[in-house]
Symmetry: C2
């Protein structure tokens, strides 16, 4: 048993579970002080990291370990998608109670391996330690052709605001999960989106490569929290039309708009498009709906219109430093 | 007050404290979904990350916040030094109780800023959240000329083993810190080394550029834990001479050898040099002592000799998954 819990043995196990036959740009991964990686010529490197903590971002009693493994990588990759980049490799920092190094870890690594393969993002290295709670921090390294990254700061008055997919679905899934006993199962689209989100990597790359998005970000904390960030970075305001929001048909009609405005964890893309390029944005991209939800305004305030009434949009999304 | 604890405000404050006028290779840091960074041509990228957790790696009541800030970056940079690379930028993942966003955070950022400037490693981005305990995860990105990284795997039988600096000093500092009341102060070399370690970046680069080290790593968990890792990676064994270890004169003679063998947190470099190049290793490099402590052997066992007695070296360094 001692050997089983030993840090060297744990690292070897993670390595074995996530081994990948491709060598390509990763000269050396794991087993040394750092990973060695080669960037492509003519590309910029995107660096991003994300906490995924028991009690804050997932519940040990409710979230199946393979969902924890999938989601910790998927949400970090979503930041790469939001800049129009391609994910390349990741570092996994994992702190774990000794009691979870058996079956829990096995399933966690299974979910992580599936995400790693699906998202084409290889394990490069990491750090492990012991804690009473499960703590995860994932760093993802991505690439984007020089000068083509989509930033938050390029939105201009008159631009049209789009979102991908459906909003509020993941938050609805979280509500359903809280009501279930034991580990949640992905029995409908809302639970599936909460447990196994799919970052919009291909869409993000297409928008960036075709220079369609003047500004872009991913929706992780909810539209009402994230849109003000995009507007602040661009020095603009916005008007969004609540009736246009692609809300989830799984919610009661009375809840659907609120979920779409404030629900977190969707990992959809929010992007602005200049009016002259608007016709180049299809209604669907690879099966993912793209919806016009409003416009960018010169005046630095953010309002939403609902039943012909215009009112300021109050942030009510996820902010760990503010009571909800 | 609400605004003060708000995540956006916290990120802005970290950004302000660690602002750097240089633009250089970081096209875009902070304030977007990810950082954009340009690698140098002809170089490989080194990626590494390190946990630094309250209760495991530091004590909130004992470690001054500016030491926490310094050390969380310094120890991650040490992994870049261990491969012969130059640190370039870092991502800070910080989880904090709301009660520490005042003076504690200010001093933490002060220590981090000093480390960032001294080690020439700029803040590129990160993630913040709220937790009851202080959780830190630092990812460092470094560079090394293509093909010149020093790995753990190149040691060959007959190579001479060297270490930089003094061994066991940081662990002695930790013991002294545990006995003090309130925040520790760096009143001697042992406490200084424990609180404000200096990664051997210049030495690591010099050894790698001159192809002097056949294998290299940094000593973070103690010689008796780390040397077996270097030997395992190289498929070799080693004999070390206890009398040769550069132990600390600050410890009682009875403790000094044990501290040098098993004490963690020194962040010195352990490296192997082929006999034909041994004469090129000076006794001191930029004021840091370099000491021959033994040799690499073909047989895959690790022994230490003490008073003409040879015995197996038992790992008694830091391993979070093993009771000490």
């Amino acid at each position: 048993m001692r050997e089983k819990h030993d840090e060297n043995a744990l690292v070897k196990r993670i390595e074995r579970e996530l081994r990948c036959s491709q060598r390509d740009s990763l000269t050396l991964a794991l087993g040394d002080d750092g990973a060695l990686w080669n960037a492509k010529q003519g590309h910029e490197i995107i660096l991003t990291c994300d906490w995924f903590l028991e009690g804050s971002h997932f519940l040990r009693a409710k979230h199946p370990p393979d969902s924890v493994g999938w989601k910790c990588l998927a949400r970090a990759v979503s930041d790469i998608a939001a800049m129009g980049g391609a994910p390349r490799c990741f570092l996994l920092s994992l702190a774990l109670p000794s009691t979870l190094t058996g079956e829990w870890l096995q399933q966690f690594l299974g979910g992580l391996r599936r995400a790693s393969r699906t998202l084409r993002c290889r394990l490069a290295g990491g750090d492990t330690t012991r804690q009473e709670k499960v703590l995860i921090c994932v760093t993802v390294v991505g690439e984007v052709r020089k000068g083509s990254a989509a930033l938050r700061s390029g939105a201009r008055p008159g631009d049209i605001l789009f979102v991908s997919g459906t909003l509020g679905e993941a938050d609805l899934g979280l509500r359903q999960l809280r009501k279930q006993r034991g580990f949640a199962r992905a029995t409908n689209a809302a639970l599936r989106k909460h447990l196994y989100p799919r970052p919009r990597v291909v869409l993000g790359q297409w928008l960036a490569q075709n220079r369609l998005a003047t500004a872009m970000m991913d929706l992780s904390d909810g539209l009402s929290t994230d849109l003000p960030r995009l507007c602040a970075a661009s020095g603009v305001g916005a008007t969004i039309c609540v009736a246009s929001l692609p809300s989830t048909p799984l919610a009661k009609p009375a809840d659907a708009a609120n979920l779409a405005l404030h629900g977190g964890d969707d990992y959809e893309l929010l992007f602005a498009v200049s009016p002259s390029k608007r016709h180049r944005v299809p209604r669907q991209f690879h099966g993912v709906k793209l919806t016009d939800i409003g416009t960018i305004a010169a005046e630095r305030k953010i309002v939403h219109t609902e039943k012909e009434k215009t009112s300021p949009l109050i942030s009510r999304g996820w902010d760990p430093f503010r009571a909800r």
